[in-house]
Symmetry: C2
Subunit: 143 residues, 2 copies
């Protein structure tokens, strides 16, 4: 049916650094869960650059079989660094310095890919750090 | 005058990782500025574990000459890792696993020191990543 309603989704691939300890993976996967709950209309998956699984290549493969209209790659990193500027773009097949590319789905369709900024300078980050400072003031005496 | 009004402040030392690139330093110092502006009653300074200046030891020295009632050390790191669990506590002279210690001011007074959590799992972080994803969708065609 040519007039069948399209259900294509915006894919959101959250990329974390990964770590030998469990904390980074927990942070990324729980943040992904929170993002799903907060009601965006994204199809969200997470992956890791190093140490943890799935890898970024595996994350991309998981996205490939979905019916996507676009793929947004969102790095959960603090700031630009060599991973943001070089390593992740390379895996995504992005041209140097570019934020837009393409993503080929398993059925052969080519959809746009956009590469989001890392956390960066943001009032929400300042708020979060003030919250952590305030929480520290309430620590029990034997903490 | 023994009944002179005390003006002691809560010191807040923001600790960043530091980087050979400028982005991490910019993130930390600008976040510190935003924290000052958002009206907390903290005396805020920032410092870095590696690559950037001032170092954590230098940051502590800058705090030492202030009239503090307490020092809160807030790591601007994503999640617990070896820097959070071992390196920073060691410089702060904290016992293993402890979040509370003491800080000796230049005039010899000993005040409490508390060690806050890194960014960690927080709805504000999920909100920030959704914001970055939404921003990526508005990138110009040639980005």
């Amino acid at each position: 049916m040519t007039n069948q309603k399209h259900m294509s989704a915006k894919g959101l691939l959250l990329v974390g650094h990964g770590s030998r300890l469990q904390y980074n993976k927990e942070l990324i996967t729980t943040t992904a869960e929170m993002m799903k709950e907060s009601g965006g209309d994204y199809l969200i998956k997470s992956c890791f650059l190093e140490y943890s699984n799935p890898t970024v290549a595996e994350g991309l493969d998981l996205m490939r079989s979905e019916d996507l209209e676009i793929l947004i790659v969102v790095p959960l990193f603090l700031a630009k660094g060599i991973h943001i500027l070089r390593d992740i773009p390379k895996i995504l097949g992005l041209e140097a310095g570019k934020k837009r590319g393409t993503f080929t789905l398993a059925d052969g369709r080519v959809v746009p890919l956009v590469y989001a900024e890392p956390i960066g300078i943001d009032p929400l980050l300042a708020e979060l750090m003030l919250k952590n400072a305030a929480n520290a003031l309430t620590l029990p005496e034997d903490a």
